[in-house]
Amino acid sequence: MFGQLFIKECRQTAKSLIYWLIVLVLIFNFATQLGNMDIMQKPKEGQEDYGYKQSDDKNMIMRTTLGQLLEEYYRESYSTYPIGFYKSVTLNDKEDKQIEEIIKETTGLSGRTETRKAIEKWYAAQPKETNAEGALVLRKSMEAEPVEGLTFERFEELMDEADHILGGGSGYEEVSRKSASVPMTYEDAVEEYRKLTEKDRLTGGYARLFSDYMVIFLGLLPVFLAVTRELRDKRAGMQDLIYTRKGSSVNIIASRYLSMLIMLVLPVLALSVIPLSQCLRYASASGISADIWAYVKYIFGWLLPTIMTATAVGMFFTELTDTALAVLIQGAWWFVAVFTGISTLKGGIYGWSLIPRHNTELNWTGFHDNFSQLASNRIVYASISIILVAFTAFIYNQKRKGRYTVSWKGFGRLKK
């Protein structure tokens, strides 16, 4: 029965308008973000630019963070992302004085005049280049030397204080300090390329980048499919006809859930064929042994738990409330996850986010070193979604027996 029901549910999904809208959004997202994906070429010595890398060198973290603080203090304008959106912060005199104190303790510089001089001195010492348009280009962001004897722990305390003064979401909050963006040398670039082609076998790195772009939308869109599916019976006046059937609630809910997951994964798998073929062409021409299954592994390992969760949230709250409340709940969760993820874009910090980010084909080390963190994250979300689906089946079963009714006067009521 389960198999036949599953096939019928897949057909229903394939005929639903919302499903094709989701597919269109995924295609649009892919086309705009990854449509013109460039495969990283082997670095050549003497290249203008080798890009940036993340460094966990504590001295480097202090230098770049303090450099940013000096510049923002001097401009009297700070960039923050308190709930993900950009916000320019201007401080009052008292707060400005507090930042000044922090700068003095960390760099020894006192007041705007000394800060301006330090900035000018630093930029004057940097090599100047001009771009194709003839404009002056600096390849390195401002760095500031910490005062002698400043420990990293004290530095962290002061940066936390600065972040607090700025209202949170600044470049000085904890997560932003865990790594610093530093320009890569030729040797660094060669090493990253080696990891991409040997450790990641090329496709691994690009599959991660693909997952990074897709996971953003897959953290939200499945909820719409789940909500419309669960509300369809009620809207069609078909609830009682289904409720009085012999089929078990577990079979009904599980077949719906599985069919939605498969139907959502299918377009993602189909889209992955495009970057995969690009990678395979490049790998073949460059003699790289590419992993042909990399995209499949990442889709099922990285994306599927997010799809599972968004779908399960949709099913659970729709059965619980007989409304589209799940869209609001998932929407709020998605909003927080996406915008707090901005500070972890470069990967290596996955935490417990529903939407783990790794917006680069590089940083294999970050991925490798934090793989267990990512794996735990994904396992937890997959488990949560299975638990939610089990609860959905329970609620559905109670509704079939008339033991759970939703009335908004007293919300849902479970009878004995």
Partner: protein, 299 residues
């Protein structure tokens, strides 16, 4: 396994409101009518039998299985609710096939049964039509077909003829009678004509209580000698309405031909006539003190 429904001391509550009061019934194979005005508790009783509501108190078994064992009961019951539809974008065949899977029928069983059932309800030629394109009568017939798809021993039909035109109503009643040959069909309705045309055994529910159970002829027997007919003036009609329950009237110029209930002949021109189910039902309701002197509410 016996094809019997047994209801013993069934009480049903919605919060503090008692919807069914000490209901006792035994229903055997054939058509069984459940009659009562709107809000009498018919749908509640149907839902308990269809396992859509848990019983509050009492004992209810369907074909020997307690209704608390919902999944077992569902194997033997088919249900056509008062308000229903199906996925509008599915074709008639697809909707039947989907519900067939939910009933646990194999692919070959569905392939064999669905065309036969659609033919039986005269919808075979419409099998590729979308559900949303069906008329009210067609939808009701499709409803019956889905309810007997898994060949249940009990078919529960709640207010099936509401909103149907006279032709569809007759067709639907006949269909129910055919289906009831080898199973229990419980027809719940507030339309006396449906019961009169189809059922031998009936029960009348009022405010959650069974106020009558027995055969239709026994019910009509209760009103025997109490039904009269007379041609009176329109002015006299108002007086008569205050004294008796008028079960029908026909205007004839300035006069009215009335049919009414009375324990004895009220005036010389009144002629006794044979009691029908409507008369008997009205008599029953009058005896209970629930009648309002006009049959319109029950038709």
């Amino acid at each position: 396994m016996s094809t019997t429904i047994k209801i013993r001391n069934l009480n049903q509550y919605y919060g503090k409101k008692q919807a069914l009061k000490n209901v006792n019934l035994t229903i055997e194979t054939g058509m069984f009518g459940l009659l009562g005005r709107n809000g009498a508790g018919k749908t509640t009783l149907m839902k308990v039998l269809a396992t859509l509501l848990p019983k509050s108190e009492g004992e209810v078994t369907v074909c020997g299985t307690n209704v608390s064992r919902a999944q077992e009961v569902r194997k033997n019951t088919g249900y056509l609710p008062q308000e229903f539809s199906m996925y509008p974008n599915m074709t008639v065949y697809e909707a039947m096939d989907y519900l067939g899977v939910l009933s646990g029928l194999s692919k070959s069983e569905r392939k064999q049964r669905i065309p036969k059932l659609l033919e039986r309800v005269n919808l075979l030629e419409n099998r590729r039509k979308k559900v949303k394109a069906l008329s009210g009568g067609m939808k009701r017939r499709l409803g019956i077909a889905q309810a007997i798809l898994h060949d249940p021993k009990v078919l529960i039909v709640d207010e099936p003829t509401a909103g149907l035109d006279p032709e569809e109503r007759v067709r639907f009643r006949n269909l129910l009678c055919e289906i009831a040959e080898d199973r229990i069909v419980i027809l719940s309705t507030h339309i006396v004509g449906d019961i009169e045309a189809t059922c031998e055994n009936i029960a009348v529910l009022d405010e959650g209580e069974i106020i009558y159970k027995g055969t239709v002829s026994e019910l009509t027997g209760m009103a025997e000698g109490k039904v009269f007919q007379a041609e009176i003036s329109k002015r006299e009609l108002e007086t008569l309405k205050k004294q008796c329950v008028v079960t029908s009237m026909l205007t004839l110029g300035n006069n009215v031909m009335v049919r009414f209930l009375s324990d004895e002949k009220p005036f010389a021109s009144a002629k006794p006539c044979e009691a029908g189910v409507e008369d008997a039902y009205m008599y029953l309701m009058q005896e209970r003190g629930g009648g309002d002197g006009c049959l319109d509410n029950y038709l």
